[in-house]
Structure formats: C-alpha cells, structure tokens
Symmetry: D3
Subunit: 115 residues, 6 copies
Amino acid sequence: MLAQIDGAAGQAVVDALADIAPDFATYLLEFPFGDIYARPGLDVRGREIATIAALAAMGTATPQLKVHIAAGLNVGLSRQEIVEILMQMAVYAGFPAALNGLFAAREVFRQQASA
Amino acid sequence: MLAQIDGAAGQAVVDALADIAPDFATYLLEFPFGDIYARPGLDVRGREIATIAALAAMGTATPQLKVHIAAGLNVGLSRQEIVEILMQMAVYAGFPAALNGLFAAREVFRQQASA
Amino acid sequence: MLAQIDGAAGQAVVDALADIAPDFATYLLEFPFGDIYARPGLDVRGREIATIAALAAMGTATPQLKVHIAAGLNVGLSRQEIVEILMQMAVYAGFPAALNGLFAAREVFRQQASA
Amino acid sequence: MLAQIDGAAGQAVVDALADIAPDFATYLLEFPFGDIYARPGLDVRGREIATIAALAAMGTATPQLKVHIAAGLNVGLSRQEIVEILMQMAVYAGFPAALNGLFAAREVFRQQASA
Amino acid sequence: MLAQIDGAAGQAVVDALADIAPDFATYLLEFPFGDIYARPGLDVRGREIATIAALAAMGTATPQLKVHIAAGLNVGLSRQEIVEILMQMAVYAGFPAALNGLFAAREVFRQQASA
Amino acid sequence: MLAQIDGAAGQAVVDALADIAPDFATYLLEFPFGDIYARPGLDVRGREIATIAALAAMGTATPQLKVHIAAGLNVGLSRQEIVEILMQMAVYAGFPAALNGLFAAREVFRQQASA
C-alpha cells in the first residue's frame, strides 16, 4: 500500500527514520497505510484528495504535501485536479496556503517531467 | 450553486451578514461559489471531500465544517464516505481533530434524521 | 493601560485567574500591557488593528478576540474599520476565519448597543 | 491503559463513537494507548506533560485538553504542575492559549472538587 | 493596486503562477486587490498592519509575510512600526512567531538597504 | 538561566536581535527565562518536555524546536526521551508533525555528535 501510493518517497521516509526512531516507521506502515488507506468506504482517489487538501490547508507540512501530490498522480488524479484542490484552499485557509500549495505542486510536476 | 451545495445553511449565513457586513455575503457568493466551485476540472464531489478534510484538519471552523458535511451529503457523498474522510484526518492532523470532526458529523446526521 | 484598553473585560480575566493562577494575572499586566502596549513606536490604534487581525486569523481565541474588538472601539476604531479588518482576513486565513470573526464582532456590537 | 489514564472520560469517548465510527474507537485504543503510551523510554508522567502542553498550544482541542488535565492528575501530576505547564504555553503559543488552557483546568479542578 | 502595494514581488507571484494556475493569478488580482484592498473604510496603512500581524501570527506563510513587510514600507509604515507589530505578536501567538517574524523583517530591511 | 538551558543558541538569538529589536532580547530574557523557567512548581526537565511537545505540535517554529531539543539534552533528557515525546505528537498533531519533529531531532543529535 505504501509503495503503491507513495512510491520511492515512502521508502525514503522509512530509511530516514532507521537510525533515530525505527519503531515509528512501523507505526507509519501500520496505522496510516495498514489501517486507514486500506479501508473500504472511500476509494484511494478520494483519500488522496482529502490528504492533499488537509496538508495544504494546515500549511505546516510541505515535505508531506509534496509526497501526497506525487501520490495523487500515482493513484490517478490529474495535474488539473490537484491544481483545483489547491486553488480551492484559498477559500478555506487563505490565499497564502493556496499559493504555497501551488508552488509545491509546481516543484513536484517539474521533478516528474525531468525524471 | 450556493443553494445546491449548502441548502438552507448558506442562506442563513448570508442573512446573518446582512446587518454587519452585507458586502461580505456578496464576496462569499462570488469567489467561493461563483468562481471556485463552478470551475470544471474537479467535480463537486471531489470539492466537498477536499473542503471537509481541510476544515476538519484545521479544527478552527466547526460551524463551517457542519455546513460542508451537510453539503457533502447534498452532492452525493455517503455518510460512510464522510466518516472515512474524518477518520483519515487522525493521520494528518491528530486524533483530536478526527474525533471533533466525527462528533460534528454525528450532530449533522442526527439533525437530518430528525428533520 | 489595561483599564483603558480592555475596560471591565480585563478586570474579569484578572479576577478569574485569582483562584487558579494569580501570578499569571501579574504577568498579563506586566508583559502585554506594561511592556508592549506602553511602548512608543506604534500607536494604540495600530496595536489594536494588529491584535484583532491576529486573533481572527488564528481562529483559536474567540474570547480574547471579543475583548479586543471591544478594546478597538475603546481606543477609537470605528465599527466599520473593525469589520474591514475582519473581512480582510478572508484573504489571509480563509473565509471561515473571517466569518467567525464577523460573528464575534456582531455579538460585541449588540452587547454594547444594549448596555 | 486507557482506563488508568483517562478514567471514565476515555470510556465516554469510545461509547460516543459506537454509532458513527466504532472502528475509530478501536484505533484509539490500539495506536495512542496500545502502541504509544505503553512504550518504555518515557514515563507516563512525562507523556501527560507533553500532551497537556501540545493540546493547550494547539488551542483546537478543548475537550481533549480537559480529558488530559484529568489524566495528568490521575497519573500523579499536581494541580500546581499542570498550572505551570499551561502558564508556560504563553511563551510558546501566546497568552490566549495559556489563558484558555488555565480556564479549562479551572473547570476540571472544580468538577473533581465537587465529585 | 497590486503594483502600488506589492511592487515587483506581486508581479513575480503572478508570473510564477503562469504555467501552473494562471486563473489563480486572476483571482489574486480580483479578490484581495480589486475587492478588499480597494475598499474604503480602512486605509491601506491599517490594512498592511492587519496583514503583517495576521501572517506573523499564523507562522505558515513566510514568503507572503516578507512581501507584506515590504508592502508595509511601500505604503508608509516605518521600520520601527513594523518591528513593533511583530514584537507584539509574542503576546498573541508566542515568542517563536514574533522571533521568526522579526528575522523575516531583518531580511527584507537588508535587501532594501542593499538595493 | 538562558545560558544553562539554551547554551550558545540563546546567545545567538540575542545577538541576532541586536540590530533590529534589541528590546525584544530583553523581554526574552525577562519573561520566558526570568519569570517562567525560574518558577518553582515544575522542574526544568518537565518544562523542556512541555516546550518540545508544544513546538513540535504547532509545527511553525522549527528553529526554536531545535534550540529546545538541544536544551532538553542540556537539562538531562535522554535522546530516547526526546524521541518518545516527538513520536507521541503523531497522536495529537498528526504524523507529519511527529515526522518533522523527528527529523529536527536527528539534525540536532548529529550536530552534537560531530561537535
């Protein structure tokens, strides 16, 4: 589930935790990915819309927002849909939250274009 | 667009603004509803998933979260889908954000059941 | 300084702290009011604009926002100026923050009208 | 673990979730209480200091803050220690966060005194 | 209005949006600048005080805070007034929010001194 | 008190304020360190647990979080205790807050190992 959604970025997080909090990598695999994302009742496309919106609105988790913008593309969201989610955050969390989310998306889209 | 999504709750907000900031009601109709929700590129179901997630994650806008939980039902989200969005917020914004969102949903579901 | 800005509301906070954290009332009188508000370099009108904006944008301090909306009136801000500050927060913190700020202002304005 | 820390309040939350999101009660028992609080490496007293501080600083989770102020007393924190944690939040999250935390504590202390 | 307030920084944001969300640049020109800043009822000096305070208190929008510190200077706020606004945020949003705001201001002031 | 807790980092902050807001350095020495940390009623170990938890949960003050992770080590918290505090924040503020806190800790631990 982690690999399908997050691709290499998920593994990078697990690796980075190895020397400081390896148990936390286990929790990350078990609770968000084992428990939550695997649940029926909301498809993974809907789950990524929710996560991208939440992280952009919070504005405190840019690295994780980038991971989930890439994950959104992995599970079938179009670039345009991701841009629409981020633009909509101007209404609920203000223009700076939307702008910073759009600039994060631009960076992810560019990295993928050059990969 | 406001009526379709927010139903009576949207009109109530516009009315409440009448004696203090009537121009703000105009902006509310124009920018979020006229400009953003009317855009192609993301269907209204996806837009409500994003809004419910963002408001639950922020945790500072309970009245607006309730309006959008009702709006989510209006545009075709099931109760189970809304519950899944809110549970998922535990991962990104913590268990209290998810719990407070679930309690808001319980209140909206009950009001609709007794209507 | 506290009396001039906050009126009775400031004294009510000091009283409420008496049985749980009396020293905190002292800090409240010393640091925000003794140190910060008494400084030259920004007039008290500008200080209240800043505080109303910050508390409305944060969205986590409704009681204090109401105290400072009343304080803003005490130091010479007009109702219209306060409404403009709150509406502007839609741009920076989202429409729900602005709406909840406007509803707090409506409550303060009404209490003063009936006093 | 839940019973030891949260007492009746923990069970009340589990009950409230029963008709809307019973699985979430399971996650709540498993991840925070089964996984995190049960870990060695930080005693439960230190864990409650951390939780009270975090919830007061965030300012978006008053019901959960009250539960953890009571839980702090259950695991051996004194009222004075809890008041000190909350006062200290003025430094890191502002005076309103500290004030609102102190008022939540006053309510919990009073309920326990009258129980 | 954008040019008067934000100078070159506003145009840079519009340009950066061109290849990812050009419509968002239009919204940015229309709603914050066309609708809000152009309103009578609060002068532009008061509006910049409000915005600098809000962005510093939120702590999630450093690039936008820097743009508005420069905009504040453009509309006639003195450096000392801006420093006072930011110091005051220690009271409402904590010392870290004030410190990070002051360090953002120091950067803007230095860039202008060397321009 | 500042020197004992923050070591060189505290002096660096005071120095950085010298040319923009020297009075703010005075407030920083007086209120957090002179008034709050010096109070009896909670030991400095408990105070650092509270501060690390709050700053990690807020997610808006990475430089200050790093200073207090180092301060926690200075007053006797073990690396493992700090890691446990940060992991626990996943419950209250979400996994991204915990992850970003853990990565801040990893950086502080490495700097100290190479010092």
